[in-house]
Each structure stands twice: as C-alpha cells, then as structure tokens.
Symmetry: C2
Subunit: 373 residues, 2 copies
C-alpha cells in the first residue's frame, strides 16, 4: 500500500457523519425551527453545551506544523495528514471525535489567542507537533486560560508511555527508580516532560543530554526550559556527551536522533541495562546491537521490534476519561495513574514484553478509568 | 420528538468517522511511519493538500453566535446546535464534510484573523449567523484575503433561493423583473444581499424598508451599508413605512419580523401580487391572510405551507460545486446561474409550486453543476 496513493483515493482519512438519517419528518427537529429549543436551553445555561452538542465528545487536534514527526518545520498543510491520522486513532481506540486544526501562524501569542477563541466548539484540546520551547509556553498558558482540558500530546502522552514501560522494565530487573541513574537523550518536548514525570514518580538521578552534551546548571547555550530542568537534574554536574553520561547508567531513554549510540556505549552502562531507543523511524541504536552491547531490556518506537513504546497507548484513553468525567485539567497524578494502569495490564512483565501492543483494546479503557471521580 | 431530549441522547448530531477500519496491518500506512510520505509530498507542493487531505471535501461552518435564527445574540455555545444542524444538511444533501466552528469573540478583526489562520485546514468557509453590518466586512475581507471560497450563507444562499422563487413566480404572473416594483422588508444580511442580487439580475425598482421605514439617500439613522444600498434603491425617495411602500408594489420580500403586515396592506399592492413572507418561524403575514388580501402567489420559510423558500436548497450545492471544481471565489454570476438552475427544476411553475421541496435530491446536483469550468 502506498500512503500517498491511499490518501489520494480517500481524499482525507476521516469524514463528518450525521448520527441520524435526514428525513422530511425529522428536518424540523434536527434543524429549524426545533433546533431553536436546544439553542435557548444552552443560552440559559452554557454548561449544557457539554451535554447537548458535539462538545460532549469532540476535541481539536491542533498543530502549527512546526515540528512534525521527524520531518521538522514542514508547515500546516503538510502536517494535516498526520493530524488526520491522529484523529482516526482517537476515534478508533477511544471513541473520541477528534477534528484536526492546522494553523497558518507559528506565532506563540497568535496561536494562544486562536485556540482560546475555539473553546466554545470543543470539549478538549490536544496540541500536537509544535516545536520546543514554544510548545511549553503555549500549553502552560492554554491550561491556565481555558476551561477545558488541554494536553500537548508529544510531551505528556510520550512521558506517560515511557513511565509505563519503565515501571515494568524495573520490575524485570528488580531495581528501584529511586536508586538508579537515568539518561535522557533529547531535551525537546518529550524529553523535558519525561524527566519531569519520572522525577514526580520518584527518580532522583536523571541526566539530560542535548546535541551539545549534558545539561547542568550554568551551562552555556541553554533556553529557559533547559535552565529550569538543569536545577533538578544532573546534580553532580557531569560534563561531556551522551557517552560520558552513560557510564554506569541503569536506563537510557532516547527521544532524540538516529544511530547516536554504539555497542561500546551500551557496554559502559551498569548491569541489567534498560535501553529505550525511541527515535523514529531509525532508533538511537538498533535493538540487536543494544542487546549485543549487553542491554537486558530494549524498547523502541517501532512496531516491528519487541516492546513498542507508542504514545497511542495514552492519548485516546486520556481524553476518553477527561470527557466522560468532565475533567478540566489533566494533572501529574492522572498521568502517573495512567502509566500504572498501562503497566498493570502486563501481569508478568518479561524482558520481551514490558508494555501492551499499540492497538490493545483494553488500554484506552484502563487509562480512561483513571479519571473517575 | 423533543429536540432537547434528542440532542441529549445523541450528544451532538454529527460525529467524526474513519474512512477505513484501523488494523495492526494498516496502522503504519494511516499513521507513522507511512504518513510521513504524504506529509513530504505536500511539503514539496502545498496545493496537494487539496487532494490528499480532508481539505478536498471539508469546509468550516463558522459563527460567533451574534445573530442566531430569530434568537439574536445568544453567543457561540448556544449557536453550536444550529451549526451542527447545518453541517448535517451539508453532508446529507451535498456530501460535503462540514465542521462547525463557533468562536468566543465577536470582535470583527479577531474573527477575520482567526478564520484566515484556519485556512490550511479547510477547502472552504461558510459563515453563518453573524450579525449585520459586521457580517459584510468580515465576508468582504475574508474573500479578499483568503485563497479558498468564502460565503456568508445568510446573505447569499438566501438571496439565491429568493431569486429562484421569484424567477418562477414572475413566470406565473407573466411580469418582467425589469418593470416591477419590489419591496424588501429587512435590511440585514439577507435583505441587503437579496437587493444586490435582484439588481444584478435586472430589477430596477427596489425599495428597502427597515424598522424605521423606507431607506433612501440621506435618511437619518443609517449604517454605511444602508447608505450604500440607498444609492441604488428607492430612486423616487418614497418616505414612510412598509405600508406606504407597498402601495402599487408587485412583489413583497420579507426577511424581517413576524406579523408586520395585514390583509389591508396586501390589498394596496398591484394585481397578481407576489408575497414572500419569510420571517421564521412566524411570517410577516400568514399565507391565508395574504391570499385573502389578494396575493396571487405566497411563499414562506416554513415547510407546513406551500412554496417553502429555504436556503437549504442552495448552500450544499454551492460548496459541492466549489470544492469539485477548485473554485476560489463564488461570484454573482455563479449565484444567478444557481438560482436559474433551481428555478429550472420546476418545469411548469404554478402559484402553488414555484420552488422544489427542501430535501429534493436533484437540487444540490443542479446547483453544483453551475461551477463546472
């Protein structure tokens, strides 16, 4: 199957459908004059829009096309097929109606204003493929200034699924998250959110590495987000590249670039090393090489290897739960419970199976239950 | 059927559906990594987004909730059920995927900026239920500043369907549009657009009437749009209310308020008078009273009387045709041809049948053909 030909044939992967067939008998209930009664009811009590309209089950998947997959800043039109795919996954896995919105602006303030003004249409906002560090400010501001749940998927869905995998991987190797050293390669949206969530979950020793080397306080060439994370990671201020950081480390989490690690690098890690090499489509190190370097557990973002760590395990259930329970904010507590719920679906984790399959139907349900009040 | 209960049961009248069933086999084509090929193709040539994504068949139905049905400024949340109904009609009658967007702002400049920034998502913009005179500036600016078709439905779909009805009504009474006097009651979005289209079609003698009386040059209490239309209507500068204007008139078109006319008013019109009393749900005069006042042809906006003049006959076909033929601007020529196409579906018009039924499946096809290049 050629994805371009498929897209041409389909003309978009999703469509809008009526929930009821239009007849000359029901026209007056579905549209004028009957619809005026629904409008009047909502005009009296705006909150009813969450029960009587598409807001009950509809979110926006919003992108400016500035950081799409591994393709970079390819613009909104080129981002649209990805957002359609996301919308398709939301529906198929979480029964959430998701509509893609790609924006012609990459100005932070303009994006914030537009998304705020879209609030009356939607029950939630899933931000997608917006470049760091702009994505942090956009998400923070929208969470504060909107009354519906907002989540930047690349940050939090990724962080949750990594934590889920790590919970089970640590069970296999019998290590305690409080006592291990974790290296995170990549200090963009996913890396920052993962570090923060692992710290919340109890990790004490995380070292982050970007393309200039390890992050530590007062390093040069840092944006405000990196300066912030430097205050709570790499407290020993280890300098150098990813190789230096990896010496004696227990866990490597890669959300960065293809082929940056060698077998030799893995050999320098501690016993029972855990390697999550999630750059897509080419990981930081191929699984067979990580294994031959001594890694006990290897995961990637790909479906053709064992242990696929894919955020599709997270976002459908998050919004399913948030919509069903009228949740206004997706908190760290929700995210940690979601990771535990996903990990809990694997009753006896092994090195070859730390996480459910990407399309496992149980997952969205398990995640959504986390939001029950 | 209670519309509020129905909405509660449905939780919105439309949903997002995947066009293909997700399987572990096609995930990699519908989403990562395969979707990257579609994104790369569009990044090379943005115009491909009109072929490879939902833009091919998707428009936005945009409202700020400032002039909803006859309910007035009830706000965006309360407008949403109406926009959903519109989206449903677009799909059922024109097979156009239409997504409702209701905005939290009623500021003209902000609305223009937001809609412009939504352009990469959509193949067209249907503006809806935005109050006059703001609707004129918003539509004019968006038409100039966007590269996809933009139409304010309340103006143009209404004008087209009125012209369609009038074409057949004039055939029945054997009068020439160039020689008749037409009174238009209501100088909002629909009234202004109707006057302009009838003038384009050849009408010479139109008198517009608002709640302060007839419109004429240098009348007090006029907005710039009324000042503009005063230059090309009521050239005899007839003063007074709708009663005075109606004396000797051939056609009354009401897009105004319930029960403003009496039998006596109709009696003052010329022989074979045509009365389109389209205020909703209560017309300017009830059909039986207009008839007993001497009107030869009476139409309303309601489905429970003969001759329902409903803009649902227009908008699905307009956007079906615009999308299929990559039309960037919906012109007056398109609108006139659309009206003629609708009128042409009634082979032998009679006083009881000047216009096709609201859900006549032939109509959208006939209208869409107008756009063939």
């Amino acid at each position: 199957m050629d994805p371009v030909k498929l897209s041409k044939k389909l003309g978009g992967k999703i469509e809008i459908r009526s929930k009821v067939k239009l007849t000359s008998g029901n026209l007056k209930f579905l549209y004028t004059p009957g619809v005026a009664e629904v409008s009047r009811a909502i005009a009296k009590d705006n909150k009813l829009s969450h029960k009587l309209t598409i807001r009950k089950n509809t979110i926006a998947v919003v992108s400016d096309g500035s950081a799409v997959l591994g393709l970079g800043n390819i613009g909104p039109e080129a981002a649209l097929p990805v957002m359609e795919g996301k919308a398709l996954l939301f529906k198929e896995l979480g029964n959430v109606d998701a509509f893609p919105i790609v924006l012609a602006t990459q100005n932070t303030e303009e994006i914030i204003e537009i998304v705020k003004n879209l609030e009356p249409t939607f029950g939630g906002i899933n931000l997608e493929d917006i470049s760091a560090p702009r994505c942090f400010e956009i998400e923070d501001r929208l969470k504060k200034e909107m009354n519906i749940p907002v989540m930047h998927d690349d940050q939090h869905a990724t962080a949750v699924v990594i934590l889920a995998g790590l919970i089970n991987a640590l069970k296999v190797v019998k290590k305690d998250i409080k006592k291990i050293r974790i290296i995170i390669s990549g200090v963009g949206a996913a890396g920052i959110a993962t570090a923060k969530l692992l710290l919340k979950y109890g990790a004490k020793n995380i070292i982050m590495v970007d393309s200039c080397g390890t992050i530590y306080e007062k390093r040069s060439n840092m944006n405000p987000v990196k300066t912030g994370i430097a205050k709570v990671t790499n407290l020993e201020k280890i300098e150098g590249g990813v190789r230096e950081a990896l010496r004696g480390a227990d866990v490597f989490v890669g959300v960065s670039a293809p082929n940056i690690l060698t077998e030799e690098d893995i050999k320098c890690m501690s016993k029972d090393a855990i390697v999550f090499a999630m750059a897509n489509p080419v990981p930081e190190i191929m699984p067979e090489r990580a294994k031959s370097g001594g890694a006990r557990i290897v995961a990637t973002g790909r479906s053709d290897f064992a242990n696929q760590i894919n955020n599709v395990l997270v976002f459908p259930g998050i919004f399913r739960g948030a919509l069903d329970n009228s949740i206004k904010e997706i908190t760290d507590a929700h995210k940690i419970k979601a990771a535990e719920a996903i990990a809990g679906l694997i009753k006896k984790p092994t090195s070859g199976r730390i996480i459910p399959k990407a399309l496992d139907k149980r997952v969205a349900k398990a995640v959504s239950r986390v939001f029950k009040k």
